[in-house]
Subunit: 326 residues, 2 copies
């Protein structure tokens, strides 16, 4: 439970923005109902991808995403879900849900379901440019998410880079590496793109993270497509072909960020889930369930506590939100 | 033919460094002979990955890579091939083969054999940090390579970024985009990681490029591995399984930078080919053939000419190497 809802012991609903999904508000409403947990729906005025997010959020107080974020900030809802413009969701969250005290920048985290083992990748696009201290915070935030929401005990954290050696990578990565090597996390050092599954959490800047996700999606599609060609050309028996295609289709779907539903904004004072615009009703339901689970597991408080214990917060948080539950 | 070999009209051999390949100098020598074109082999002292490349190249004048690069710089060989330390090859090329006048930084270009269409990606790791003018030059250099060596007429060039809009990406990308949009190339704007095959040349910084290549390799392996699991679990008939595995194995191999053999250093005064350490003899032969072809097609002269015509050289090259053949 979050600090701002301590006036009542009972959980608050999940605030769901019904705008922005390709399937329209009715599909989002249906998905929210399917989730099996109380929700509050916010419809009406929409902020689109074409608008400047910060300006739109400031100048449209009646927009659905703004009212939903305000409800969460005011403690009338425990978490926020939107399939609308990611930029608008990020801006509304910064203004109205607000950062955890001492956090430099929130980051978008995506659970990449690599065959065999899911790996959390962050930042997936919130921060095109980063400083070393942002990367260090992302490491703590990602580890806390995997621990609280996915039950991974002491997650292994790596920095995405171009070689395993501590000195490989950009200046920001080298500095973050040095800081994390002496820190409280189970830090595995640098990981290369070919070895993501060797860790539970992969930390990178928002530019590289976004490019990486789309490359994985594109490669999975290309490999799958080529296998499909082999099947259609009659090189493979039809039964075998059908089975392989089913299996590949699932893999492709899992690797497609459109359908992971696992994107979450970390570093803000309540859980914020980034549902994809192409979500099905079941996708929206999964996003609402993820938000509920993050709230129930006190993800935010445990994240703040881990950042404080690791000495990774911006300033000594004497009486801050970060340590009020510690 | 290169400017420095105009004393004789006859082609010079390809200089091959026999050190650095996992298979040892004998395998490299065998591969060089298989290429079917005159070579000059350089063996003896080796510079390894563990040494500082610039220091090692300066302090070991007898190292094979240094002598081979000097032979190329002196016009005694038309191009350079090495399967040794990429850092040492880069340093030896900078010192002894030298940059084309007006080129800021050489870049490593890799031909990614995406199913259906090969795409050239650069920089694959020579420059961890870039400035906009480097990216602009990479665009011209990559296009000239695809045109001269692979016969692609007017190659489509894109900047790897996190959205198609001109303003998406790092400050460096936005500035390079602006420059290229008004330039002489067939510029397709920004491309996302999921759409690499929409262009012939993808330009990025050496950090993102290196991460991208390894991610593609890792994803192709993961998808292939999962299909292998389906086959082993008996879900797929053994004949169908064998055929799919063969097909996938080839795809995986193609996507593996170890076996593409297509890495070339662009922006220096003679062709320099980066053969992979894990090359087979046939891989070495392909690297030598690529070097021969780049020399025969006047890749360097045509690159310099394209850079000059596009106004992308560092300073007006009045009587420089760059325009001497223009």
């Amino acid at each position: 439970m979050t600090t701002t809802t301590t006036t009542s012991g009972a959980p608050q609903p999940i605030a769901v923005d019904t705008n922005g999904a390709d399937g329209g508000p009715d599909l989002v409403a249906e998905g929210a109902r399917l989730a099996g947990t109380p929700v509050e729906l916010f419809g009406g005025e929409e902020i689109t991808n074409e608008e400047d997010p910060a300006f739109a959020v400031r100048s449209k107080p009646d927009a659905s995403i703004v009212r939903a974020a305000k409800a969460v900030g005011a403690g009338e809802a425990d978490a926020l879900v939107s399939a609308g413009s990611t930029g608008a969701l990020l801006a509304a969250s910064l203004f109205h849900v607000k950062r955890i005290r001492g956090v430099h920048r929130p980051a978008i985290a995506v659970l990449v379901p690599l065959p065999g083992k899911p790996v959390l990748l962050l930042d997936a696009g919130a921060n095109v440019e980063v400083r070393p201290e942002y990367l260090v915070q992302f490491a703590y935030m990602g580890a806390a998410f995997m621990e609280t929401v996915h039950g991974v005990a002491r997650p292994k954290v790596g920095l995405l880079s171009i070689g395993e050696e501590a000195k490989k990578g950009t200046d920001e990565i080298v500095a973050a590496h040095e800081e994390l090597a002496g820190g409280a996390l189970d830090f595995a050092g640098n990981v290369e793109g070919s070895a993501l599954a060797s860790v539970d959490v992969v930390v990178t800047d928002g530019f590289t993270g976004n490019v990486a996700l789309k490359l994985m999606e594109g490669t999975a599609k290309a490999v799958g497509g080529a296998v499909g060609d082999a099947i259609r050309s009659g090189l493979v028996s039809s039964l075998g072909g059908l089975l392989v295609r089913g299996r590949l289709g699932r893999l492709r779907e899992q690797l497609d960020p459109n359908t992971t539903g696992g994107a979450i904004l970390l570093g803000v004072r309540h859980p914020v889930v980034v549902a994809h615009g192409k979500s099905s009703a079941e996708g929206v339901a999964n996003a609402v369930r993820l938000a509920r689970r993050a709230a129930d597991e006190d993800m935010v408080e445990r994240t703040a506590s881990a950042l404080a214990k690791g000495g990774a917060l911006r300033s000594a948080p004497a009486a801050s939100f970060a340590t009020s539950h510690d």
